[in-house]
Amino acid sequence: MEQLSLLFDGFAQAATPYNLVFVFLGAILGTAVGVLPGLGSSMAVALLLPITFALDPTAAFIMFAGVYFGGLFGDSTAGILLNTPGQSSAIASTFEGHRMARNGKAAKALATAAIGAFIGGLVSTLIVVFMSPLFVKMATNFGPAEYFALAVFAFVAISSVVSESVIRGLGALGIGIALSFVGIDGPSGASRFTFGVPQLFDGIDLVVITVGLLALGEVFHIAATYKSDPESLKLPAGGIARMSWADFRKALPAWIRGTLFGAPFGMIPAGGAEVPTFLAYGTEKRLAKRRGDTEFGTTGSIKGLAAPEAAGNATAGTAMGTLLAIGLPTSATAAIMLAAFQQYGMQPGPLLFERSADLVWTLLASLFIALFVLLALNLFLAPMWARLLYIPNHYLYAGITVVAMLGVYAISASTMDLLILVILGFLGYLMRRFKMPLAPLLIGVILGPLAETEFRRAMAVSENDITALWSSPITIAVYIFMIIAITISIVQHLRHMKSAQVG
């Protein structure tokens, strides 16, 4: 059990008063941004990432551990009280959660969500701790062709299989990959699509892209659509979040089922927590029907909230493990975390565990500390978080605009970056307006360079033999898995088209 002693070393590193301050700060900021209506956990990470650049790497990653899970804890609060899930991974818990809140059980719903998020995060982080040697060993068997196959899988899964419109998903993916080309090409030194502008030689910073698309794009979208602030819809939190022992026992199986759904999905690049949260919700729904549970879909079922909430955080935990050990981001939030590592000159992957072992274990230990801090913050301070929902929206979005500018300015103090930020913000608005998904674009930006580098490496190794891309058992397995996913998706779309025509 070498991992345990390493983890304890990590705890010793993380538990200094100086570092604990940053865990708290990250947890508070992450929850706060997650709670704010319309802002999801990936925006929390994107907005707060640049702010950490002023810190040393250890403190920054410790703070990030808090932000990472904090956004997810906060997401559900807005969903439950306001019926406005911050991002699509929080939708499944909003269904039953908001029903509970509307029937006067807001405190119970908030407690269920907080404990569910805690259990999901705890179990999946434990999985990461114990499985990490296995992951690393697996990743060392991955050559260029394997990484290329995984990237292609991620592209196809996120742009086509899980997105509403395949054409728009692929379009977003293409724009994302195109953005990643900008800059000096590493292997050849050729300047690509920089139009002779020196500021573009380093490429477009990923933080500029995420903050522009997610934060500024949202503000522009709000400006173009939003006129009234429906105060009347805001529900009170009803004191501190609490639940009875009987409720706890009722929710426990659902939390565990949700965690089991969520954990494997963190390791598959399929866009994040949407699939497992809906899967968990659907399972609880079917079980409720079989049991003759009348709460489900009427007054709000505690299990229908518990399962997706645990699933969401379980996905986030294993996604972090996959990112650290294999270097593959499986969700948009993990992709932004990858950018954070790169900002500090570190490349996640099997080598990270060797070269920066103390940082990795400090980060994992911080994830545990952050989960406990977040559980306490979300149980006892629920009314305080609920008050955040009463910030008038115009101040909220004014604040986001200013913080977005601050964050991008903090990276490089460059006017050029700020201009790109505004342009990408406008692109983010247009994509929202015309229902083009944002996730494929982000994945394109992140995995585009990885796919290209690995492709060229594979070609160099095999002396330009293209069949080398699908000649190993792992690559064949990945492509077969991909074809199965596409087939299921086609069948699904055809079936729905048919039923839509009949109905």
Partner: protein
């Protein structure tokens, strides 16, 4: 057009945009994608690299550029011929994810499908509370180009003036104008709010974390 009409019957006058008339504004996306793919193709053909062999720095941009051109053409055809997108615009689906897929995963009935409808999250309650509010939300769904363009102008002004006027003044001005554009009704009090926000950020990040924020002409005093 029969499909569009039946869908419109299902969603009576929820959104003014796209109901009744064809809306071709989505061709902006076609134009953007077309320009991006043209830049990729032309740029990679004219790119100077010293590598030899079939796979060089220009290979991938060329492939992506051609693929994007195909997708652009498909999108144009889709908008011209398909009314489904119109319906989507009206429904305001949760477009990040396939609603068909989520529907199946969650084991939903047809009646539950409105839960996957982003607009329903807001409208659901509005309808039950009062009809006035419903009307307000409806009007709000029309694209407000004036506010949008003013806000984009405000952010651009911020970017251009930041090196000259400094963080406090520019950030306060940006905060004030964003709040005002998004419907704040107390412009005078907002002046103080925005100055406090900008100064607190300057003190916290400039002072404590050592982030260098431009002082503007204050720096010269």
């Amino acid at each position: 057009m029969s499909t569009a009409i039946t869908h419109n019957d299902k969603q009576p006058q929820r959104e003014l945009v796209g109901v009744g008339k064809r809306d071709y504004s989505e061709f902006i996306m076609v134009a953007i994608m077309g320009v991006v793919s043209a830049i990729l193709i032309i740029g990679s053909l004219n790119m100077a690299t010293s590598e030899d062999g079939p796979f060089s720095a220009k290979t991938t941009p060329l492939i992506v550029g051609i693929a994007l051109a195909v997708v652009t053409a498909l999108l144009a055809v889709d908008i011209l011929r398909n009314t489904r997108m119109q319906v989507l615009a009206v429904d305001g689906n949760v477009y990040e994810m396939s609603s068909d897929m989520l529907h199946d995963l969650a084991g939903m009935d047809e009646a539950d499908d409105k839960l996957l409808n982003a607009a329903a999250f807001e409208l659901d309650d509005a309808i039950t509370t009062s009809t006035d509010e419903e009307a307000a939300v409806e009007v709000a769904r029309v694209t407000d180009y004036r506010t949008l363009l003013l806000l984009v102008a405000a952010t651009l002004l911020f970017v251009l003036l930041l090196p000259y006027l400094g963080w406090v003044i520019c950030a306060a001005a940006l905060f004030w104008s964003t709040a005002r554009l998004l419907g704040s009704t107390r412009p005078v009090m907002d002046i103080w709010t925005s100055l406090i926000v900008a100064s607190v950020i300057q003190l916290a990040f400039g002072g404590l974390l050592g982030l260098h924020l431009p002082a503007g002409f204050f720096g010269g005093l």
